[in-house]
């Protein structure tokens, strides 16, 4: 196991920035801590890097203990590389010197060689003699990545690596960064508040809220099997509709019977909420079930309709864009509940 956190906590006064964080990251995989700003994800990253001590728990990498409340391995001895949010490139050094900066243990010629190789990997070989201020934001970001990867760290941390780039560049670089990390078989952990970014780069994503880890899972599982209401809300779009337990894993709703995971302690008649994603609600003219269009958002390939059910409850439906319906119109819908998730009624 390359990185392991066990019940890690970090307090600032009474505020619990990180509280009971536990997860594991295997060699060569890319993890991500995802959450709204202030959820403690950056503090967690700084604990792993060694810039913050831990108040409880333990951080291990490759079987070595890095942090406990009584022990803090200095950041420089952790063999952990880091890409900072603002890149923190050294403005007085050239691109090549920046990348070679962490290779001080190698002889001069090997340093240059290694730095040149890694610059080629990120596609910046021809910019080796430039200074950081002469590069674009995206290029600076890749230099920062190359600099962090050059000393072959056991783990690379990326702190909101794309937040200062524009949206278009963000998507492209996300894919590129994943490709570079994978080609070097690097183990990496990034921190972001952007779900798209997390899903594009990471193999495993942890959703954090108020210092706690809500769920640590693959993007697919997070979307389709959220472990908590917070995760269900934070990841993707969707609405909750009311249901009643009528059997093990079977629920009665105003849209008919649905099957979902249940909890052992739920008895028939228990009131629950079921998560419906927009792709669970299918537009079907032949359906008996009618709903009124109350909002529509044209998104190019499809419409996202907000539909009002007879009870007044609302659901979202993703419909191919040639089905153009006006607000107020009643349309037929059908439920295709592959991955409905049930939560206890609040």
């Amino acid at each position: 196991m390359w990185l392991e956190l066990r019940d890690v906590a970090r307090f600032f006064g009474v505020r619990k920035a990180v509280d009971g964080l536990s997860f594991r990251l295997a060699e060569g995989s890319i993890g991500c801590l995802l959450g709204p700003s202030g959820c403690g994800k950056t503090t967690a990253l700084r604990c792993i890097a060694g810039f913050e001590p831990v108040d409880r728990g333990e951080i291990q990498a490759h079987g070595r203990v890095l942090s406990t409340p009584d022990f803090l391995a200095p950041p420089e001895s952790r063999r952990i590389g880091m890409v900072f949010q603002d890149y923190a490139l050294f403005p007085h050094l050239t691109v090549l010197q920046n990348v070679a900066f962490g290779l001080h243990r190698l002889p001069q010629s090997a340093r240059i060689k290694r730095a040149e190789d890694i610059l080629a990997t990120v596609g910046l070989a021809e910019h080796r003699s430039h200074y950081p201020h002469q590069l674009s934001g995206g290029q600076q970001q890749r230099v920062a990545l190359a600099r962090a990867l050059a000393p072959e760290p056991e783990l690379v941390l990326l702190d909101e690596p794309f937040s200062s780039l524009d949206v278009e560049l963000r998507e492209r670089l996300g894919t590129e960064v994943r490709a570079v990390l994978k080609s070097l078989n690097a183990t990496a952990l990034l921190v972001t508040h952007d779900q798209q970014e997390a899903f594009a780069v990471a193999d495993l994503v942890g959703v954090m809220s108020n210092g706690r880890l809500e769920q640590w899972d693959s993007p697919y599982e997070l979307y389709h099997r959220p472990a908590s209401r917070f995760v269900a809300d934070f990841i993707g779009q969707g609405v909750f509709i009311a249901g009643e337990v009528v059997g093990a894993g079977t629920f009665q709703t105003e849209l008919g019977l649905m099957h979902a995971n249940g909890r052992a302690d739920w008895t028939n008649g228990s009131q629950v909420d079921l998560l419906l994603r927009p792709d669970d609600v299918i537009h079907d003219d032949a359906s008996q079930l009618q709903a009124e269009v109350c909002q529509r958002a044209f998104r190019g390939a499809d419409f996202l309709y907000t539909l009002k059910l007879p009870s007044g409850a609302r659901v979202l439906s993703l419909v191919p864009s040639h089905h153009d319906h006006a607000v107020g119109e009643r349309i037929g819908i059908r439920i295709e509940p592959d991955h409905v998730v049930a939560f206890e009624r609040r």
Binding site: A49, P74, E76, S77, F90, R147, P151, P153, L157
Partner: protein, 551 residues
């Protein structure tokens, strides 16, 4: 939009660009004429004068100046950088207080610190008297009126320039750079030397260049120490030898030194501009010092604060109170009134000129306008003595020319002209020296009034005078106040220009300080000095308030 054809197009509200261009060129003259006079004198030296200077004056003056500049740059630069490192990067008891308190010495002009130091540490001063009482002798005590003493005192007076620059460099990028270096396998000590300090180098060098310029320009402090430099030599050539050409030749050589420092400052500022990283919302945590290091940090920082500010202030107040009964008279209020009159007049003239230049630049942001304004504001780099002599010489020539003209018309009954002894000459010299002080805040303030703000207002029907009144004036108010305050304080402190160009009898507070200190009457110099220091606290407070935002 039908109204757009009726309302004037944007940017046209300020009319008369030809008038603006004329004024801009006129505003160049106060700074340009002295430089031309000095350069032309340098290219046509009077052999006799030059030989005298080369043999008797220059060797001592050049050696003294070089020693002083190197000493103050080294010690002041080290002090400023070291203190900035401690307050910006480390945590120790009292850090918050010292963070701004270390800027307070800016309120004390170098010549005040100098006479307080000499008065306190000299043979007859309280410290050595006490030492003699206790130990019987104080002959082992180092002489304060020496090269070392002068360097020591000027370093204490000027270190805040480097402190300010280095501190902002460390605060904006130091912590993050250290962390980056640590993730690349350097421990904190190695990271500091390899990254944080090299990254801050452009700022530190720019601060040191400012120190060098201030040292070269200093007249009052070196006079107190009887330490001969270019400025004192120019003053003596002017008043002692009555040799205009000697003064001009010396000014020319001094300008060579100034030019080097000036170019160094420009170059480092450009480098600093390139290497400035984005503003970081979050600072890296400060270094926690061990018990011994923490104790040494407090002692070090506290010692500088006491020597550069607390002790001089206490001594100054003590002297001022002992002399208040006898000296706080009508004469004293005369000095105050004349200082206030000059400072207020200069503030009004310079703020008006700055507003004009800023608007010309806004309307025509061309290379030409920029270059012309750069010439007009270059005076901040020219030592006051040089500027004063460079302005008086052409004024005297003009005066004599007009006098001859009058004589040829009216004969013996012609009135005697004395242009060189008028307040106008003083104000022109101030304008040349302090235009940059007023222009910089106003120009950066006007940059915030973007053309789209104008266009938005015009779109809402607010045009012409109403636009100026309702939009520009409220937006510029703080900048105007800052500019006026800074000019006011600089003129209050100014010594050599006032001394050389003032009309007969126009003694100000600073002139009074000079006269008292040149007679060794430290106690009597304290009362006028206190007034100058009090006024000087205003910009120091403004700086610390701005600094508080950074911290």
């Amino acid at each position: 939009m039908s109204s757009s054809s009726e309302s004037p197009p944007p940017r046209q509200f300020w009319r008369g660009s030809r008038l603006g261009a004329t004024f801009t060129l006129l505003l160049c003259l106060p700074a340009l004429v002295p430089l031309v006079v000095i350069v032309s004198a340098a290219f046509s030296p009077e052999a006799e004068v030059w030989a005298h200077l080369a043999q008797y004056v220059l060797p001592e003056v050049v050696a003294n100046t070089v020693k002083l500049v190197i000493g103050v740059a080294l010690i002041g630069g080290t002090l400023g950088t070291g203190l900035a490192w401690l307050t910006a990067m480390c945590e120790f008891p009292g850090r918050r207080f010292f963070d701004w308190a270390l800027l307070l010495p800016l309120a004390i002009p170098a010549y005040v610190l100098a006479f307080v130091a000499v008065g306190f540490l000299d043979y007859a001063g309280p410290l050595q008297s006490w030492l003699r009482d206790v130990f019987g002798s104080s002959s082992w005590f180092p002489r304060i009126r020496s090269t070392g003493g002068t360097i020591f005192v000027l370093s204490l007076a000027f270190y805040p320039y480097v402190y300010l620059m280095a501190r902002s460099a460390f605060l904006t990028q130091g912590g993050r750079a250290l962390e980056a270096a640590q993730t690349l396998g350097y421990d904190r000590r190695a990271a500091a030397w390899r990254v944080a300090i090299p990254m801050a180098r452009p700022w530190i060098v720019a601060g040191i260049a400012l120190i060098v310029m201030e040292t070269l320009a200093d007249f009052g402090a070196v006079s107190v120490f009887n330490y001969n430099t270019f400025t004192t030599a120019i003053y003596r050539a002017w008043f002692g030898m009555f040799s205009v050409s000697a003064a001009l030749e010396l000014a020319g050589v001094l300008m060579l030194f100034v030019l080097l420092a000036f170019m160094l400052e420009r170059r480092s500022r450009t480098a600093a501009h390139f290497s400035s990283s984005r503003d970081l919302s979050r600072e890296a945590p400060r270094m926690q010092l061990g018990p011994l290091a923490r104790y040494s940090a407090v002692c070090m920082v506290g010692l500088v604060f006491v020597l550069a500010f607390a002790l001089p202030i206490v001594q100054l107040l003590f002297w001022a109170f002992t002399r208040a009964m006898s000296d706080l008279d009508a004469r004293y209020f005369g000095f105050v009134a004349r200082s206030l009159f000059l400072a207020v007049s200069a503030a009004v003239v310079i703020v008006a000129a700055s507003v004009l230049l800023a608007y010309v630049l806004r309307r025509r942001p061309t290379m030409l306008t920029r270059s012309v304004i750069r010439i007009a504001t270059i005076g901040y780099a020219v030592p006051g003595t040089v500027l004063a002599v460079g302005i008086l010489v052409p004024v005297i020539l003009l005066n004599n020319f007009l006098q001859d003209l009058l004589r040829s018309w009216l004969g013996a009954s012609a009135p005697v002209l004395l242009l060189q002894g008028t307040l106008l000459t003083v104000l022109i010299a101030y304008l040349a020296r302090f235009l940059a002080v007023g222009f910089n805040p106003i120009e950066s303030g006007l940059q915030r009034v973007t053309h789209s703000i104008d266009e938005a207002a015009i779109g809402l029907g607010v045009v012409g005078g109403a636009l100026l009144r309702k939009v520009h004036v409220p937006l510029l108010r703080t900048s105007l106040a800052t500019a006026a305050t800074l000019v006011f304080v600089d003129v209050m402190k100014e010594m050599p220009i006032t001394l050389i160009t003032r009309p007969f009898g126009w003694d100000t507070l600073a002139v009074r300080v000079f006269e008292m200190t040149s007679e060794g009457e430290w106690e009597r110099a304290a009362l006028p000095a206190v007034a100058i220091v009090l006024v000087g606290l205003v910009p120091a407070a403004m700086l610390t308030r701005r600094g508080a935002h950074v911290a």
